[in-house]
Amino acid sequence: MNSTEQVVHVTLKLPKELYDRVAYAAAGEHQPLEDLLSVLVAEGLDAHASVRELLERVSAQYRDRLTREGKLEQPADEVLQELRAMREQIASELYPS
């Protein structure tokens, strides 16, 4: 979860069987139960969202991060150059010769 996001506390009543399933999954993923519940609620909402809504949300998140990192105004040619350099680096890591 983004640390700059506002958080609202809610009380949730779940059937015991559902709670047990979530608790089991959270333990398996080594994450707090409330974090997994938050992810599951978000994913449930995403199931009803359009592609555009899904990607607009990711884009907003990505652009916020780039703004914080001072990279949003980076010229497109520079971005392309960085991507090419990253491609070479990853290829060398995945396929050392």
Partner: protein, 142 residues
């Protein structure tokens, strides 16, 4: 070339990045991904998957992967590209990274790569796939 509606296409990392950045110099990337995705049969090779992982946080990556599930079809190819094909493309003049992409596409018999990287065309004159800009793909889908 209208078979693009009926064949898998590989989307290069730069298409995802420019779309999510809403890059003004490449507006077609956003249109292709945000509006036309459901008309595409997407092929995502290991190299591009890892590049996306390096560029995005895990939460951003999850969002992109969830969106990709809304494509007409999506194929995740986690199998490393064949070494002999990488070597052949490097001998043909491609840089290693581009040789890996070319090898992935050749092995999977993918005929279209959507990329804003113009170097692909000059590096690989005899490639078995077409390199198309996002703008061209949108025109073909009309």
């Amino acid at each position: 070339m209208n078979s693009i509606r009926h064949e898998a296409v590989a989307l290069d990392t730069n298409v995802f990045v420019f779309a999510l950045r809403k890059e003004a110099a490449y507006p077609a990337c956003e249109t292709l991904l945000f509006v036309k995705l459901s008309e595409l049969q997407v092929y995502l090779p290991l190299q591009i998957f890892v590049e996306l992982q390096r560029n995005l946080t895990s939460s951003e990556m999850r969002g992109v992967l969830r969106a990709l599930l809304r494509a007409k079809t999506v194929t995740w190819d986690y199998v490393p590209a064949p070494a002999e094909l990488i070597a052949r493309w490097e001998q043909a003049g491609a840089k290693k990274g581009d040789a890996v992409i070319a090898a992935h596409l050749e092995a999977a018999k993918i005929r279209y790569l959507v990329s804003e990287n113009r170097h692909f065309l000059t590096e690989l004159p005899a490639s078995p796939f077409h390199v198309l800009r996002s703008e061209a793909v949108i025109a073909l889908l009309k």
